[in-house]
């Protein structure tokens, strides 16, 4: 797809909270269609980095660009969502008392005003898109179930599905497998891998075996800075990584 060619460039970004540098001269880029995993000990700045990309936190210095023309630091959270950056938070929040289908329907791109939603109907193309996403997230058989009866893992997938409804170019996924069963983890790994290519996917995760199963490129953050990057094997052998994170 010709429009899906935007590269995310984070350059020399610094964020400090009361003197504590959550991000310290961070430089990182994500290629179109890439699957990137970010790991690092607690307080390494992973979540802060997500906050900066999505406009929730404003950096003290540096630049964040999406493609050649979009300066994310000048945009509001809603605008950033609109240009195609979707974020999945750690804790799944789906609409419990709506069905799976209805959750996806509300996430459809487009119609947002009250008067328009009053008359909104699902078009054939939208119907197909919802079916497609239901297939991707493996919830086709649960489409009429209320979201509240879904298992924890299914809720996570539903939320990823809701992100997909908005056709994001870049997906930011925060700890997707926390609290999942091994089977759910495996299913999530398949799901995320299937999304890379069509979308750029950035995953923040602690679970090493999970990271190994999905990532081609791994970035290790420590004290707001990239200390190593490369494939999992290379990263795991890096002496600094061993020192700060993986333990000896």
């Amino acid at each position: 797809m010709s429009t899906r060619d935007k590269r995310l460039n984070i350059e020399n970004v610094t964020v400090s909270f009361d003197g504590f540098k959550a991000l310290n001269d961070l430089t990182l880029s994500v290629d179109p269609g890439e699957m990137l995993c970010i790991i690092g000990p607690n307080g390494a700045g992973k979540t802060t980095m997500m906050d900066v990309i999505t406009g929730k936190t404003h950096p003290d210095a540096g630049s964040v660009r999406f493609g050649s023309d979009l300066d994310l630091l000048k945009m509001s959270e809603a605008e950033i969502v609109a240009v195609g950056i979707g974020r999945k938070f750690q804790k799944p929040t789906v609409f419990e008392r709506l069905t799976v289908f209805e959750n996806l329907e509300l996430a459809l791109a487009g119609t947002r005003s009250f008067l328009k939603t009053l008359r909104a109907r699902i078009s054939a193309a939208q119907q197909d898109r919802i079916e497609e996403v239901l297939e991707i997230i493996g919830l086709s058989n649960q489409r009429f179930s209320l979201a509240k009866i879904l298992a924890h893992g299914q809720k996570q997938w539903l939320e990823i599905g809701m992100l997909l409804m908005q056709n994001p170019e870049l997906l930011l996924v925060d700890e997707p497998v926390a609290g999942m069963t091994p089977q759910e983890i495996e299913r999530t790994s398949e799901l995320l891998r299937s999304l890379a290519g069509e979308h750029s996917v950035v995953v923040v995760e602690h679970d090493m075996s999970f990271v190994r199963s999905i990532a081609k490129r791994v970035v290790v953050l420590h004290e707001g800075h990239v200390i190593a990057e490369g494939d999992m094997d290379k990263v795991q052998k890096d002496p600094r990584v061993i020192e700060v994170y993986l333990g000896v």
Binding site: T99, L106, A107, R112, F114, L115, L118, A124, L146
Partner: protein, 370 residues
């Protein structure tokens, strides 16, 4: 494909239907047909004859049902608990009352062709500007919806924009209706002070004391209730209704999806206030009086209890609750006047503890939302 798509439409929701709502509309239609027959065609001597007293009572219940419907729309579906909805009800009632006062004309005690009695009594020489136009029914009709709607708009605009939610919102709505009550108690507000408006003579030239007029008013109330019910049902079954659900369940998540949550709340709050206003407007000619006590905070709270007892989030449940609780009130305040408030309180506690889905929740529903 178009044909195909039409079929898949019904697919997105389990076919729960709206059995309760259909039953409700059926019963309402039955009332609208039976009341005129029982009053007009059955002879007065017969036991089956329905007196004007009975008609008034039924009319009152239906108006309360409409108020409960308005509350359920915002509380049951959007999670906004208004403890001041009687204010909108009363404003609609006052707008109707102003029209009815102007219709009295020379027949008042003081015989002034323009000024209502209370103004003559207060030695006012001319009609205040805000009374202009109320001698025309269409103007009054517009005001019955516009005034409550406008108040809801201004109030809601400030409250929702400032992200006032939950119990804080409930408390300021209580303050709103209380402030309105104090204001309307004042003689120099120009709304008859603590006596309010009463002693109405006729509406659109029809004698308000005639059985025929009362029957027509009751039928109109039933029609208005059915229409509001259908309008509310249309809203909650639209995608906007699902957004309201979403707001109730996870407000910030809805905002994150890009929905203008504040504007949704405002629209639905204004619509609800208008429904309440029309209910109040229909209430006044049937009951024959409107005074500031209608604004009192307890009225709004009682209305919320009707909704809780009936079962919130079903629309018709709220109406059923309003009718049942008020029937109990009519009976108990007659038979054991001192017991009523205790009974009401106990009812609320019991329903909250044992029937979270209200009386309607007792009826087994097929599928969905168990």
């Amino acid at each position: 494909m178009a044909q195909n798509n039409r079929e898949s439409f019904t697919l997105w929701k389990p076919a729960s239907g709206d059995r309760g709502g259909t039953w409700f509309l059926g019963v309402l239609a039955l009332v609208a047909v039976a009341v005129p027959i029982l009053n007009q065609l059955v002879p007065t001597s017969s036991a089956a004859h329905l007196s004007v007293f009975g008609i008034t009572l039924i009319g009152k219940y239906l108006c309360y049902g409409m108020l409960a419907l308005a509350i359920d729309l915002i509380w049951g579906y959007c999670g906004i608990l208004s403890l001041g909805h009687a204010a909108f009800f009363s404003l609609g009632g006052y707008a109707m009352g102003m029209y009815l006062m102007r219709q009295i004309g020379r027949r008042g005690v003081y015989g002034d062709p323009i000024l209502p009695d209370f103004m003559v009594f207060l030695n006012w020489k001319s009609l205040p500007w805000f009374w202009y136009g109320f001698n025309h029914f269409p103007f009054a009709l517009v005001m019955m919806a516009l005034v409550p709607g406008l108040l809801a708009f201004v109030f809601g605009w400030f409250a929702f924009r400032s992200r006032v939610t939950g119990v804080y919102f409930s408390i300021i709505t209580q303050a709103l209706t209380y402030a309105m009550m104090l204001a309307f108690f004042r003689n120099d507000m120009g709304f008859g002070g603590n006596n309010g408006f009463t002693d109405f003579k006729d509406i659109l030239g029809f004698d308000l004391h005639a059985d025929g007029t009362r029957v027509v008013l009751l039928v109109l109330t039933a029609v208005a209730l059915a229409a509001s019910y259908l309008a509310c049902r249309y809203i909650v079954e639209s995608r906007a209704g699902r957004v309201m659900h979403a707001i109730r369940d996870a407000e910030s998540r809805t905002r994150f999806l890009g929905y203008p949550v504040e504007s949704f709340k405002l629209w639905i709050f204004v619509f609800s206030a208008i429904v309440a206003g029309i209910a109040g407007a229909l209430y006044v000619p049937q009951i024959g009086i409107i005074n500031p006590s209608e604004f009192s905070p307890i009225n709004s709270i009682e209305a919320v209890i009707w909704v809780a007892v009936g079962g919130r989030g079903t629309l018709y449940g709220a109406i059923v609750g309003a009718v049942l609780v008020n029937y109990a009130k009519t009976y108990l305040t007659g038979a054991f006047p001192e017991v009523w408030l205790f009974a009401l309180g106990a009812l609320f506690v019991l329903v909250t503890l044992f029937l979270p889905r209200g009386i309607i929740g007792l009826i087994p529903s097929r599928g969905q939302d168990k």
